[in-house]
């Protein structure tokens, strides 16, 4: 099937089988490999992307379901300089192997965009949908707490 959507600010189109997940489409059809697959059954959160501003698991979504939608991946949240959220991850050593990291950053970005005042409990609650095997989560939570101020300042969405 032919699909069209907006990927990281670009209008894109692809011819995909209906069974192709959004995650596989982003990775294979558009070569944006920052979206990672660690379980493919909707538990680990590594494949989290933003669809119309909301964090969703791209392994639980078919590519054909995002027709005309706006999809943002870790690549779309990244530039030449680290964002305050990314810099906070680095500063707090919130990643080791880095495989789960894009999913944590997309999820945390969605959370802080909507709730820049989220407290530690809320942050832990939201991040409990993402698995990390290396960090023990303590530094990830510290990083997200620290990054809140940049979302308050910019009011960015």
């Amino acid at each position: 099937m032919q699909i069209e959507f907006n990927l990281n600010g670009q209008a894109v189109s692809a011819d995909v089988e209906p069974r192709t997940t959004l995650a596989d489409c982003i990775r294979n059809d558009f070569g944006q490999t920052g979206t990672h697959l660690a379980c493919e059954h909707g538990v680990c959160g590594a494949c989290t992307v933003l669809v119309n501003g909301e964090a969703v698991r791209s392994c639980l979504l078919l590519a054909v379901q995002v027709q005309n939608d706006k999809v943002v991946t870790i690549e779309g949240l990244s530039g030449d300089e680290l964002t305050p959220l990314q810099a906070a991850f680095r500063k707090h050593h919130a990643l080791q192997c880095g495989f789960c990291t894009p999913g944590f950053i997309t999820t945390a970005h969605a959370l802080l965009s909507h709730e820049p005042d989220a407290d530690e409990d809320r942050i832990r609650d939201v991040l409990s949908g993402n698995l990390c095997r290396c960090s023990g989560y303590v530094p990830i939570v510290e990083a997200v707490l620290e990054a809140r101020s940049s979302y308050r300042d910019s009011g960015s969405k």
Binding site: E17, R19, T20, R27, Q32, T33, G34, T35, H36, L37, A38, C39, E40, H41, V43, C44, A46, T73, I74, E75, S78, L82, Q86, F89, R90, K91, H93, L95, Q96, C97, G98, F99, C100, T101, P102, I105, E120, I123, R124, D125, L127, S128, G129, N130, L131, C132, R133, C134, S135, G136, Y137, V138, P139, I140, V141
Partner: protein, 763 residues
């Protein structure tokens, strides 16, 4: 004025993060080769059985399917996977074939490989392979193994593959005269490393050049290259294993698995690059399991609480085959049961049982997590029996500084012995009590607050690291003055590039930013050993120090010719070589890169050590345990990067908590794996264990390497199982609840409470 030695010991932010936080890392699933095909593996859904037939014709008829590889493609002899560690001849019958040949022995065992235009098509084809297996009775428990419900390896005649013996002193004599002896059985459940990035390979065979390149190597690339080259009948130089970013290892990733052979072999057969990306379901049933241990042990002490001895039998369920490092856990359980405590007399037998389950290998703190659970539980039980405070009892028995080096039990066969190298165990113990606030918190012990009963525990541990025999590096001073460090160490996500750059920067007095660390690929150095046994920092780092000395000599020689002096007269200082007021910058020193090779040899382990304390609260109604606080204090001799080291400790502790409370690979009696997804295999999440603390000390540098560092990173989890069980027992002391088995799942704790209440009602 120049300040040297300024990077080691600093919490440098990681080089790796710059790509990883932006989704720019390259993991093996991100590697693609032109014209590649995709492999998917047909795995046995029968735990034990005889393969009668495999008919691939319908699969091959599907559009897009190129080949279905079965044991028949591999000639008369299906290659076996040799043991990387403890390669005893008597274990050869238990080596795993790369494809099941006539028999399947576990659910998940590879039977065939489908190669197709896409992974989805290959999966479609899997469903069309007609497979006929005559089932045999399965062996899924120790009782079934001992009763020989089946014998997995008929020629061996028993399901006991081998029995290790750890010994010291004269245990039988000591137990005869001991004041106090207690005998107990304990059990630690099967769980696994479960790193986040599934395994994978991309293999490419260049027919014209006779060259095989395999992306996706990890941990032990050079050893795996030797194995693969031998299996394929290729020269070593014809095979290159390439390490890209690696999403976690924890002992499990990077060992030689069937797929390490199958994917390269498939690429050679079909003549096109072949990519395989493991999915989570197959990961859970195919990558190494770990920790499945039961024991029946006796502990002896004097009336005044001096430990005397350990004696007994341990059984490790190692699954259907013995894998590359499959003996490490079972051996460590026996050899290190005494931990950081004086124990004169030891006689422990550790048997490896073959069963129809996924084979086992190492997982962070292999054998140590299990054995610390056993030992620390025994100590708390003894403290209760002997009416000695458990803090005091431990303090009384920790190995003292003056006793170093302290020899641990020896192990046989594949004889080895080792000694604790250095440490002030008492100082760390006391520091932990203080950091934790033991005295203050003790007031809460046994109290019920909002329905939760509070309990504390303390335990000490040792962590062996820095396995030899060597590590290699190649240092290259590039013509522009930058330094490239090629090394045999591997990264499994622990921050190798940052840590090694810190060491190299100090050693060469070159700014950190000018250093590139290249690691883990067989093209970089002649031989390498990789990342296991907490060895990279000590072995790789020490090799860099040696390499730096050699490179400085070469720089002196090169500069001396231009400065017109003797080599030894050249002073190296601030990226330049100087003599008599003349300076030559490293940049431009030579028209060709200056290159040296070096190797660090070491056979002595490093022994980091520490103490942990925990505070939990238990809801007897649900069986839920709230972990209120964990404090870990550890001495690692010398810290290279406090930031990454702290991360290792915290991450390791939370993994240990997963093993203590959540993670369990459950099989039924017919060998069917019942926890084949992340919905059933439960790992810690961000909301489970919010309060974890760690303090790292540099009290006693390691005497056995030039860095003075001790391998660290596994330590955090080692005492956690015992610590949590002791804390739960403490919380429920009014009921005398005594957990003897992990995990401490809510139903198990509820069950213990029910039984204790029933016992109290009877009394």
């Amino acid at each position: 004025m120049k300040v040297f030695n300024s990077y080691i010991g600093r919490p440098m932010e990681r080089v790796e993060d710059l790509r990883m936080v932006r989704g720019r890392g390259t993991y093996v699933a991100d590697v693609n080769r032109p014209n590649q095909l995709y492999a998917v593996i047909l795995r046995s859904s029968t735990a034990h059985g005889i393969i009668k037939s495999i008919d691939s014709s319908e699969a091959l008829a599907l559009a897009g399917v190129h080949h279905v590889l079965t044991a028949k493609d591999l000639g008369n002899e299906v290659p076996l996977i040799p043991l990387r560690l403890q390669p005893l001849p008597q274990l050869e019958p238990f080596h795993q074939p790369v494809l099941a040949d006539k028999k399947v022995r576990y659910v998940g065992e590879p039977i065939a490989v489908v190669i197709a235009e896409s992974a989805a098509i290959a999966e479609d084809a899997l469903e069309r392979i007609a497979l006929e297996i005559d089932p045999l009775p399965a062996v899924a428990t120790r009782a079934q193994a001992e009763a020989k419900r089946s014998v997995l390896f008929e020629g061996h005649g028993s399901n006991v593959a081998i029995t290790w013996k750890a010994f010291r002193g004269d245990a039988d004599e000591a137990f005869k005269t001991a004041d106090y002896v207690r005998r107990e059985t304990f059990r630690v459940q099967r769980h696994a490393a479960m790193f986040m990035e599934p395994r994978g390979f991309v293999a490419e065979w260049d027919e014209a050049a006779g060259k095989l390149t395999v992306w996706g190597a990890a941990k032990t690339a050079w050893y795996n290259r030797r194995t693969l080259a031998a299996q394929l009948g290729l020269e070593l130089e014809a095979v290159d294993l390439i390490e890209v970013d690696v999403g976690g290892g924890f002992g499990s990733r990077g060992e030689f698995y069937p797929e390490d052979y199958l994917i390269p072999a498939a690429a050679r057969i079909v003549g096109r690059p072949v990519k395989w990306t493991e999915d989570r379901r197959e990961h859970i049933m195919s990558a190494n399991h770990a920790r499945d241990v039961e024991c029946d042990v006796e502990f002896a002490a004097t009336r005044d609480g001096r430990f005397i001895g350990l004696r007994g039998q341990i059984w490790s369920d190692i699954g259907a085959y013995i894998r590359t490092n499959g003996s490490v856990g079972p051996r460590n359980v026996a050899q290190y049961m005494s931990g950081p405590y004086c124990m004169e007399h030891i006689d422990l037998k550790s048997s490896m049982l073959t069963t129809n389950k996924t084979p086992c290998g190492t997982y962070r703190g292999p054998g140590r997590y299990e054995t610390d659970f056993i030992r620390e539980r025994m100590i708390d039980l003894a403290a209760q029996d002997l009416k000695i405070d458990r803090v005091e009892l431990r303090r009384r028995n920790l190995v003292a500084d003056a006793q170093m080096p302290y020899t641990l039990a020896s192990i046989t066969p594949y004889d080895s012995s080792t000694e604790l190298d250095s440490g002030d165990y008492h100082a760390v113990f006391d520091r932990c009590l203080k950091e934790f606030g033991w005295e203050e918190r003790s007031k809460l012990r046994g109290q019920s607050i909002d329905g939760y009963y509070h309990g504390l525990a303390i335990g000490s541990f040792i962590e062996g690291g820095a396995a030899g025999p060597k590590e290699e590096v190649r240092l290259v001073l590039e013509t522009d003055g930058a330094l490239s460090v090629y090394m045999g160490s591997s990264s499994v996500g622990q921050g190798l590039e940052t840590i090694m750059a810190q060491i190299a920067a100090d050693a060469m007095e070159i700014p950190y930013e000018k250093i590139t660390i290249l690691h883990g690929s067989t093209s970089y150095v002649k031989d390498g050993y990789g990342a296991y046994h907490s060895r990279s920092t000590v072995m790789g780092g020490s090799a860099i120090l040696l390499g730096a000395e050699k490179l400085k000599e070469l720089i002196q020689q090169t500069a001396a010719q231009r400065l017109g002096c003797k080599s030894e007269e050249v002073v190296i200082d601030g990226e330049q070589a100087s003599f008599g007021g003349n300076h030559i910058a490293f940049a431009g020193l030579s028209e060709t890169p200056l290159e040296v090779e070096a190797a660090f040899f070491n056979k002595k382990y490093t022994w980091a050590y520490g103490t942990q304390a925990a505070h939990v609260a238990v809801d007897p109604g649900t069986g839920h345990v709230k972990v209120i606080d964990v404090m870990s204090v550890e001495d690692v001799g010398r810290m290279i990067n406090p930031l990454t080291l702290h991360g290792q400790a915290i991450g390791s502790i939370v993994q240990g908590l997963g093993g203590a409370f959540l993670e369990h690979l459950v099989y039924d009696d017919e060998g069917q794996l019942l926890t084949g997804s992340f919905a059933d295999y439960l790992m810690p999440t961000a909301s489970d264990f919010p309060s974890i603390r760690s303090v790292t000390l540099e009290l006693k540098p390691c005497p056995n390497n030039p860095l003075g560092a001790k391998g660290a990173g596994e330590g955090g989890l080692i005492p956690i199982g015992g610590l949590m069980a002791n804390a739960v027992a403490d919380a429920l002391s009014h009921l005398n609840v005594q957990p003897m088995e992990l995990p401490l799942s809510p139903p198990r704790i509820w069950q213990l409470v029910e039984e204790a209440e029933a016992a109290r009602a009877r009394a």
